[in-house]
């Protein structure tokens, strides 16, 4: 269970949101500039909120009243961005194993059923890509690798920031089934940012609507 209660100001935009996010896929929807991505970045630890708390189960990610702050690399939040953000100097296989390596260093237990390399390669159909470089991948292929890379780090929750927005309709249709598989096999809460209504209706088990930095009911 992820819970947050945050206030964050950026210029004349104020984000003030609180929610508890359980298993399944929770979609954050709303117009651009409504603060969706900011919420994800605060949960991942890429932005430090000015005030509030974020916690996952017993672990405090941030608590401004106690001055607590857990840096992003200790949070184990798998994040998939709009752009794949693959490491250009590594092969697809090395990209996939990047997070897994740090996971092993810290002696983690498997939180994700079948989340080993073979399983992920099978799940996302990456077999033919393993020895290629990110520069030689299509947008859809790169995004599938990015998904696999996030899953192999065995995250305790998955954050997806418009993972399909940069792809054309055909590629979106290719990846949607994979996202459904991940939603149904991963035992972790997924926070999914999108403003595409069709995508949300197909994937989400719960929808949080955001407008001008606030949740609306």
């Amino acid at each position: 269970m992820l819970s947050f209660d945050i206030r964050h100001r950026q210029g004349d935009f104020t984000l003030a949101v609180a929610a508890r996010i359980g298993p399944g896929l929770t979609a954050l929807s709303g117009p651009s500039g409504s603060g969706k991505t900011t919420i994800l970045k605060i949960v991942a630890g890429l932005i430090r909120p000015q005030a509030g708390q974020v916690r996952y189960a017993e672990t405090v990610f941030v608590d401004s009243t106690q001055g607590l702050w857990l840096p992003p690399h200790q949070r184990r939040c798998g994040m998939v961005f709009q752009e794949a953000r693959l490491f250009p100097h590594l092969t697809v296989r090395q990209n996939l194993l990047y997070g897994a390596w740090f996971r092993r260093v810290r002696g983690g237990q498997a939180d994700l059923a079948g989340a080993d390399l073979a399983g992920i390669v099978e799940l996302l159909g990456l077999d033919a890509l393993l020895n290629r470089r990110p520069a030689n991948l299509s947008g859809g292929e790169a995004q599938r690798v990015a998904l696999g890379r996030a899953l192999l780090a065995k995250p305790r929750l998955l954050l997806m920031d418009e993972p399909l927005a940069a792809l054309d309709a055909a590629r979106k249709a290719d990846i949607l089934p994979y996202l459904e598989k991940i939603r149904d096999t991963a035992q972790v809460p997924i926070l999914y940012v999108s403003h595409a209504q069709a995508e949300i209706e197909r994937l989400a088990s719960r929808i949080l609507k955001l407008e001008e930095g606030r949740f609306i009911v």
């Binding site: 991942a44 630890g45 890429l46 840096p71 992003p72 690399h73 200790q74 949070r75 184990r76 939040c77 798998g78 994040m79 961005f81 752009e83 953000r85 490491f87 250009p88 100097h89 990047y98 997070g99 740090f102 996971r103 260093v105 810290r106 520069a135 890379r149 996030a150 780090a153 954050l159």
Partner: protein
């Protein structure tokens, strides 16, 4: 061909100058490397008071007359210098009129070129990749060594080559700080200068000039190739 070989049939003193130049340039480049990386990182990423001042200080040797830089080194690191005296008395390290002093002068003169090249390559790194690495469990030091550094490597190498090339050609600051002592501080450039000061020295001077041009061109070409690779890698 035979003529070419005969042309480069250098005397022992000339070989000593070439060898000394290479050694001084290598030591200058390698010793300034750690500080170069730190300063380049600070200038590219740091937000601190005095950043502009540091930037100016690093670039100063590029615009000061080399003789001024050499004189400042003499004041600071000479036997009776502000830093030179304690170095000499406490650590037994003498820089003035030694090849190590020549290496210091070359390091200072090449430093702006090294830092500039490194800084540009750090600034060109996509910070979003570093964010992605952090969410995958990599702490700041690991992010630097597994993402930032590999992406900057061609730029770092280019900076080292430039610093090396500058050191090979350095003259003004070196001769002011450590003079022109054969076998100790007489580099390629100061040997050429020495030959030009004596009657009949034109022949050996021309040989060394050609050698100097070849070495410098080689270094510049290597630097250009490396930065081209850097651009390709980041695209």
């Amino acid at each position: 061909m035979d003529q070419l070989v005969a042309f480069f049939d250098l005397s022992e003193a000339e070989w000593v100058a070439v060898g000394l130049s290479l050694r001084i340039a290598a030591v200058a480049t390698l010793c300034s490397l750690p500080l170069g990386v730190i300063v380049a990182l600070a200038l590219a990423r740091g937000r601190f008071w005095g950043r502009g001042l540091l930037d100016g200080l690093v670039h100063l040797p590029l615009i000061l007359p080399p003789v001024v830089t050499g004189y400042l080194l003499l004041i600071l690191f000479g036997r009776r210098g502000v830093l030179g005296e304690p170095l000499d008395q406490i650590f037994g390290v003498t820089l003035a009129f030694r090849w190590t002093g020549a290496a210091l002068a070359c390091a200072v003169m090449g430093f702006p070129l090294m830092v500039r090249s490194m800084r540009l390559s750090i600034e060109a790194v996509d910070r979003r990749l570093e964010d992605a690495a952090a969410t995958l469990g990599a702490g700041p030091v690991w992010v630097f060594f597994t993402v930032t550094l590999p992406l900057c490597l061609p730029g770092f190498l280019a900076g080292m080559v430039l610093s090396f090339a500058k050191a090979m050609g350095e003259f003004g600051a070196t001769i002011t700080f450590v003079s022109n002592i054969p076998g100790e501080t007489q580099t390629l450039a100061s040997a050429i200068y020495g030959f030009l000061q004596v009657p009949g020295g034109d022949g050996p001077a021309v040989r060394l000039v050609v050698l100097s041009v070849i070495l410098s061109m080689g270094a510049l070409l290597a630097s250009e190739l490396l930065s081209q690779r850097a651009r390709r890698r980041q695209s």
